[in-house]
Amino acid sequence: MPNHNNSEKRSRQSLLSELLSPQEWARIRKPLINTFIIFHGILNYCYLFNNHPYINNINHFFFGYYTFLGLEQSWNVFAPGPRETNAHLTAIITYTDGTTRLWTYPRMERLDFFTKIAKERYRKFFNDNASWSIPLLWPEIARYVARISYDDSSNPPMVVSLIRFHSKVLPIEQGLGKPNLAQSEAKSLIVYTVKPEDLVGVKVK
């Protein structure tokens, strides 16, 4: 081994020797690494291919460790098939004086090349998650929209309505060579009455 490695080796040894003798370390090193590899290998397999009650029990048992470190993973993007809808969210803000305003987040299809790279997380949040599968986010979004729309202290937002507009992607038999359908199907997700505490801390004129 080259001489220039000696100091580094010494410092590593001195650190380890506080806890273990070199012989002890040499004895447990491989079993320790084996355990680490096999444990995480099994855990990953069980998490990714969770298709049996026994596997589910293993996941349940180690759920705390796995999620604490954020090691949970799934690679089922566009699987079993890509989603078949285009959608976006819109909010209608109704102010105390009865006026209304329309709000939407930065929609990818309306942004230029560079902006949509930076704003992609809006797509993930609103289009993939909030629009469909996680209703608990709807009041969160409504409160956020109320806060950013509160620009006149004499006329605070009173109600925020969240609406999802969507359209189906045409199947290939009907869709080849044709443009997508307009996102015109509407579904009201929530009509949220803004509370005074929702607007605490917002700087207004």
Partner: protein, 308 residues
Amino acid sequence: MRLSVILATWNEFWYSETSPLSVAVYRILLGLITIIFVLLLIPDLFVYFGSQGICSNQAVADWVNGRSVFLNVLSFYPDNDQFLTAFHCFFFVAAVALTLGYKTRLAAAACFICLTTLYHRDPFIFNSGDTYLRVSTFWLIFSASGDALSIDGLTKRRNADANFDNYRPVSIWPLRLLQLQLCTVYCHAFFCKIVGGPWMDGTAVFTSSRLEDLHRLPIPFIFENRFTVAFLSWSTLILECALWTLIWIKEFRYWVIAIAVIFHITIDWSMNIPLFEWLMIISYVLFIDNQDLARLLTFIRNKFRHRV
């Protein structure tokens, strides 16, 4: 087959030694992507994670229903935007340190903690690329990625001769974990897709090309032709299968990698999924033979020197 043969194979796979070069190049590329990740978050940092943002701490707690505790440094000072700013600055410094290879293991651990913290603060804004970045950074902590092409290497004068093919060998098992992580991505993607109709009947690429929020740059013709759409759908399945099987066989490895790079660049051209495709592409460096990588780096260095 005898047990001794299995154990010998296991030992050879996990406990042989290798040059740290490939994992060091991977560290640099992963570090650069982490820096971009940090920078891209800055304009909307408070929208995503701030006290007045789109997702409160309470919403995340309600979503997980109190099932567990999470690694989340921001929970020490929840709803504190100054702390969030300081945290993000720290994350940037850690990403730079990882790229440069300064206190490399510590920097990798810091980057992992920061990535996990942001994920646990608002899991609803993160995509598969972010998951891959987070998990890969975790495995990187265990690797000797700071033993080459790093400030750590310079200060310890470990590689004074600066030849790319002359690094002190290191344990291979962390590299194996990183390689297997990449294979896991494709393996899971493959098995999730083959059970579904759209991939097997060859229409999946058409449907995915019609998702308006994912459009980036147009590709003429191929998404509007039934034959090319079917060819691309089935090719995706074959390639994903090859990327956890044939990639281990030396004779096929570089062919598979070359096709995969074209595949990911095409996706990156047509779809707006920032960082994910590049994370996949940089990960192929983990499969490049260290001798070949050393030759490539020497070639680049000589070219650069000539220009200077």
